[in-house]
Amino acid sequence: MLHVSNLNTQYKDSHGRIVKAAQDICIDVPRGKLFTLLGPSGCGKTTTMRSVAGLERPVSGRITVNGHPVYCSGTGVFVAPNKRNFGMVFQSYAIWPHMNVFQNAAFPLEVGSRKLNRREIEERVMRVLTVVGLENFADREATMLSGGQQQRLALARALAMEPELLLLDEPLSNLDAKLRERMRFELKRLQRELGLTTIYVTHDQSEALALSHEIAVMSEGRIRQIGSPRDIYERPANRFVADFVGLTNFVDAFVEAKLAPESYEVRTDMGVLKVTSYEEHAVGTRVLLSVRPEDVELSEIRPVGDNVLTGTVDAKVFLGEFIDFQVKVGDHSLLARVHPSLKTLVGESIQVRINPEKCICIKPD
């Protein structure tokens, strides 16, 4: 449905130097799917989305929607943003304060190229307001809405134009934590029900994991990995992705032997470990292990199986639904996230087990 290939953008900073924002971006979004651009600020995710919207003009590349190019540096095509018929929800919501709720949502229908009569406009506006649960607020001044309501109105306005593509620019970042979680569910339900092809930009990895069909993790203007939320979390392709999405322990290691396809034995400061790798590594090369804290199993009695180590509890932090243990194994410190029922005291020794399937081996940067 949306196809972006070899997209490059750049801008001039205040000193007139050219800064490359997004580089060689290639993404493919199938119809009806929610695709997330995830990354820290300044990684180029917003620029990429704005290029798709037409609010920014890339320097090269090609963007097609349903096979029709909206931008192509080769043929010089650039469709103006007001001609693209993409709905967009902005980070600030951009609700026009001089209009009421109805007028805000009706605006796209009044200014578009398709001419609708008043009755049709009213019908469609009320329909989208109902979808987002604002049907009883139609006459309210836009400035009198709460943050969550503004967010819904921004969504209703984007939906009113029956867009081919919905663009969401950090739509939840201005809400407080509780509301954010509720809106996350609501957004997901709406997107799935309406089957709208959606691009979602966020720096919040939990939002990305919760909502997306597919995620592109970006940093420094480039896409570092594209995959399903589970892929991104469980099979990070590189150090950046492992580090940015979720918490992880990194352990330096050297490959000792290949045991089976995708299974290796490596040597670390903590001892010899069995690990999983989705890439090929030659014996003797340096690699990096990534182990999620929740995959570091702790127990006071020595368990049976592979990758069992002995350590001492260095520090612990009680966080309610779980406890974070800082465990020292040799010279190496591991973070383990365990059930709060484990009550081993600081300074006591503890058994550590890491499931080889959860011990992911990636190339060091």
């Binding site: 943003p81 018929n85 709905g87 967009m88 980070q91 026009w96 001089h98 663009l167």
Partner: protein
């Protein structure tokens, strides 16, 4: 493609209009100052004679000396008065502090020409009320005060500009972090030491910037030098320009060279001032946030400061207005007495009502004020959009060009426009159109300021979401930006309306019979010695301006920027 064209056309037209208005006449004036007059028997040719005449004579030296003395004297006096009042208001527990802020609107309400005339009625050696009352009391012929002198000029102009100094120094005092002074206090400094070594040092850029602005305003002011200086031969640059144009044969070349000189002085002054107050200066600690500073307890002295303030209020508002009111109620101008009180009449107001040319001038003023306010605000809204919201290369230049008229003295702008349209006759000379051109040029910077402040508060995404909704540029501008700009647009509109309606110094060289404006009629009545009628017109003028200013303040509060 059609929509793209509207955008290109509107932006292009606004760019051309601004560049044309701000650059053409002054550029032409500059060029003209190097030419001999174009007459029937000789074409104009290049010459340095104008400058030679202007700078060759001892008279000019005298003129420059007078101008500098007048401007620096005014700046110093206005600053001393305004700065002291600002300190009293911001840093002491003087009673009636709220009244102080009424000061900020006084210069808007009482135009320079009315203020000057009322001080003539108060302080002239022959008819001045102060002299006559004192002479009555002490039964002498001694002239106690004489406004027809350099010191009189400085007194009147300085008083008139003191509220401006008050406002600027108030802002400076207010934006100073009190902890800077408190830490000096904790270091063991005495109040005296804190004042000289911290307060004054920190406000120094503001002090200097205020002095520069006051100097520039004084050197380009026309009313006081014309009304008080010309009768006794105390010439400054502005009055010399006026006389050079008005003598026969008129010496436009000479006026141009004086004008160019004046323009250079004001440009230098404003440039230095903007450098001082600009961003990135090392005095950044004293800009930005509003603080509530420490207040000095004056003890019993606070009644003295309150009395000083009252006296000031009497001199700047009460006396000028009352003297006008008094003289407007007389048949013939006379000193207040029981006798005169019996002669009170409304004849003068009746005269104004019956006189068609006065009604006509009011209409002219209204038309001009309405048109210039509307054009200025719409034009600068587009310019501000380009400057603030786009990444168009060279937009800083556009910003500077649109703000350039700030340095044009009204009289010099009037002269430049006059000379320009006399040479390029497109039929506007001698009509209201030429006045409109001057007003739009002169007040463009105010439009830039009001619209710019509002434009900065409009989030870029409000505009982008309209674009994403499918709106063309024109629709976006009309339906999203202009309504969002409304607070600034409205206050700016009223402000430009007010300053247009009081405009004198640029109009004075451009009016012709039939298209006088109110300020010009006042000027003419003064020249004819019709003090009584003039006073009546002045009283009504001031009351109208008062209503307009209050309306402006109401609008400013009512449509305070809505934030979402």
């Amino acid at each position: 493609m059609r929509h793209l064209n509207t955008q290109t056309m509107v932006i292009g037209a606004c760019l051309l209009a601004v560049a044309y208005l701000a650059l053409m006449p002054l550029g032409f004036l500059f060029w003209q100052s190097f030419l001999t007059p174009d007459s029937a028997d000789a074409a104009s040719r290049f010459t340095l004679d104008n400058y030679a005449t202007a700078y060759g004579s001892i008279e000019t030296l005298h003129l420059m000396g007078n101008s500098l003395l007048f401007a620096s004297g005014t700046a110093a006096f206005a600053f001393a008065v305004g700065g002291a009042l600002a300190w009293m208001n911001e840093r002491t527990n003087t009673p009636f502090k709220r009244l102080f802020f009424a000061l900020s609107i006084i210069p808007l309400i009482i135009p320079g020409i009315m203020f000057t005339i009322s001080w003539i009625l108060l302080g002239s050696p022959k008819i001045g009320l102060i002299n006559m009352l004192l002479q009555n009391w002490f039964s002498t012929d001694h002239v106690f005060v004489n406004v027809y002198s350099m010191w009189g000029m400085i007194w009147v102009e300085g008083l008139h500009y003191s509220p401006m100094a008050f406002l600027m120094m108030t802002a400076a005092f207010r934006s100073m972090d009190p902890s800077l002074e408190e830490s000096a206090l904790m270091s063991g400094a005495s109040v005296h030491q804190i004042f000289w070594r911290v307060t004054v040092k920190l406000t120094w850029p503001a002090i200097f910037a205020s002095m520069l602005i006051l100097f520039v305003r004084a050197i380009e002011s026309f009313e006081v030098p014309a009304l008080l200086g010309i009768p006794v031969g105390t010439q400054v640059l502005t009055s010399a320009i006026y006389q050079a144009v008005h003598q026969y044969p008129s010496q436009v070349g000479l006026a141009s060279s004086y004008g160019t000189t004046l323009l250079l002085i004001t440009t230098a002054g404003i440039y230095m001032q903007s450098r001082l107050t600009g961003k990135g200066s090392k005095y950044a600690t004293v800009t930005g946030k509003g603080f509530r500073p420490r207040v000095v307890d004056l003890g019993a002295w606070r009644y003295i400061t309150a009395a000083v303030f009252m006296l000031y209020f009497v001199m700047i508002v009460l006396l000028p207005f009352l003297v006008l009111l008094w003289s407007s109620l007389q048949r013939y101008y006379s000193v207040p007495s029981m006798d005169a009180l019996r002669n009170v009449s409304l004849d003068a107001y009746r005269f104004l009502w019956d006189h068609p040319s006065i009604g006509n001038s009011v209409l002219n003023s209204l038309i001009l004020a309405f048109a210039s306010a509307t054009i200025v605000m719409l034009l600068t809204s587009v310019i501000c959009w380009i400057v603030i919201k786009t990444k168009l290369p060279g937009r800083w230049l556009l910003d500077n060009i649109a703000s350039l008229p700030l340095v044009f003295p009204g009289l010099v702008l009037g002269l430049a426009v006059m000379v320009f349209y006399l040479n390029f006759n497109i039929g506007v000379y001698g009509t209201l159109w030429i006045m409109l051109i001057v007003y739009v040029t002169r007040f463009m910077p105010y439009g830039m300021r009001y619209n710019g402040t509002s434009m900065l508060q409009i989030h870029k995404e409000l505009e982008e979401s309209a674009q994403m909704s499918g709106a063309s540029w024109g629709t976006m501008f009309w339906r999203i930006l202009l309504p969002l700009l409304k607070p600034g647009l409205l206050s700016g509109w009223i402000y430009v309306f007010i300053v247009s309606i009081r405009e004198l110094s640029a109009s004075i060289l451009l009016y012709s019979p039939g298209n006088e404006v109110i300020a010009i009629v006042i000027w003419e009545l003064w020249e004819n010695g019709q003090f009584v009628e003039l006073s009546a017109l002045g009283v009504m003028f001031i009351l109208t301006l008062l209503i307009l200013v209050m309306l402006a303040q109401y609008v400013g509060r009512r449509f305070g920027v809505k934030e979402i």
